[in-house]
């Protein structure tokens, strides 16, 4: 039987210096990914570089923010009928070499969604971030773990693999701005099976994180509000077997 078609979704915003390497590394894998770079309204040469390295480029006319960019990729995957999608960031902090680890539970049918976590195996020491961010990450991890009923250590990780069911859900509804936290809750509310897989992440190859201290407080309040309200929402997809 033919291998199911796989796509790697790479959101990128002004990542001309790192995107080429990310695309090359993805192509070098045996996994056989079609690489789709979602250029989120970059003003540098991100799209041209990605295209030159052989990626399919979806170019947004202006910056939608990470949620809108990632969902563009999932919509593409859904319309093209991909059976499997991975998502990793264009700044190079997610190592394509570790994709096997997060793919495994999805390929074996154990999970619909697998997320790479920096903190799952006590590997957090290698990862530097500001104090306010660490406090925020811990608070979110606690709240989210409570709600979804399993231990989630890295709620903001965008390093993930999803099967067709996950693709369909994300194509239909994906949160805005700072989406991973809400997406984790959404996945659990839709009874999709999710697992966390320990991974190591690299330092960003270029650019800096778009999240500053004040913004992280705003995001924190917004995300907590979104999670709270989300608990009272009806599901967008029917449950399996219903």
């Amino acid at each position: 039987m033919r291998e199911p078609r796989r796509v790697a979704i790479v959101p990128a915003y002004n990542e001309e210096r790192s995107i080429g390497r990310v695309v090359d590394e993805l192509h070098a894998l045996d996994a056989g990914f079609d690489v789709v770079v979602v250029d989120d309204g970059s003003w540098d040469a991100t799209a041209e570089v990605a295209r030159a390295h052989g990626a399919k480029v979806l170019r947004l006319p202006f910056n939608l923010g990470i949620g809108g960019a990632v969902q563009t990729g999932f919509r593409y995957a859904f319309e093209q009928g991909y059976a499997l999608a991975v998502r990793l960031d264009g700044d190079g902090q997610h190592d394509p070499g570790q994709l096997d680890a997060i793919l495994a539970p999805v390929l074996s049918g154990e999970a619909d969604v697998a997320v790479g976590s920096r903190f799952a195996a006590g590997r957090g020491d290698g990862y530097r971030s500001s104090r306010s961010r660490r406090v925020g990450i811990r608070l979110l991890a606690w709240v989210v773990s409570r709600i979804v009923g399993r231990r989630v250590t890295d709620t903001t990780s965008g390093f993930q693999a999803v099967n067709a069911r996950g693709i369909a859900l994300f194509a239909r509804d994906y949160p805005h701005d700072y989406p991973e936290v809400e997406a984790t809750v959404m996945v659990s509310r839709h009874r999709l099976r999710a697992v966390e897989v320990p991974v190591a992440m690299r330092e960003r190859a270029s650019g800096r994180s778009s999240i500053t201290a004040l913004r992280s407080i705003y995001y924190m309040v917004k995300v907590l509000l979104a999670i709270f309200v989300g608990l009272f929402r009806r599901n967008v997809l029917p449950e399996e077997g219903s």
């Binding site: 006319p61 202006f62 805005h176 309040v221 917004k222 509000l225 309200v229 929402r233």
Partner: protein, 121 residues
């Protein structure tokens, strides 16, 4: 001192508005981003309406002697101005993006009609 009826009605109305905003978010008719200012507004009004001593004290600070509930109006007014200002910036951004979308569409249509494929950007 604030009349008791004013406090009760003020609190009930503010809390009801909080519930309305939450319901709008739940049903996907209002994004969290735009709901936060409204929530802040109604929560502040609810607190001031329910906390009678606090309202009196604040009225004293800002020199309102005769009728403390006027502070409720003042606070509500300031918040509403903030929300409107925020919306003005949002509308401005949306119209800019709308222009970009229309231009992009025209360019794509020209390409489909058989123009030479456009150079990048």
């Amino acid at each position: 001192m604030t009349p008791l009826v004013v406090s009760i009605v003020g609190t009930i109305v503010s809390v009801a508005l909080v519930v309305v905003v939450l319901e709008l978010i739940r049903s996907h008719r209002l994004r969290e981003r735009y709901a936060l200012l409204w929530l802040l507004t109604f929560v502040a009004l609810a607190v001031l309406a329910a906390w009678r001593d606090g309202l009196n004290t604040i009225a004293g600070w800002v020199g309102v002697r005769s009728y403390p509930p006027a502070v409720l109006f003042a606070v509500g007014f300031v918040f509403v101005v903030a929300v409107l200002l925020h919306y003005s910036t949002v509308i401005s951004r949306l119209s800019d993006q709308n222009v970009v979308l229309a231009q992009k569409l025209a360019l794509l249509e020209a390409q489909l009609d058989g123009d030479a494929p456009a150079r990048e950007r």
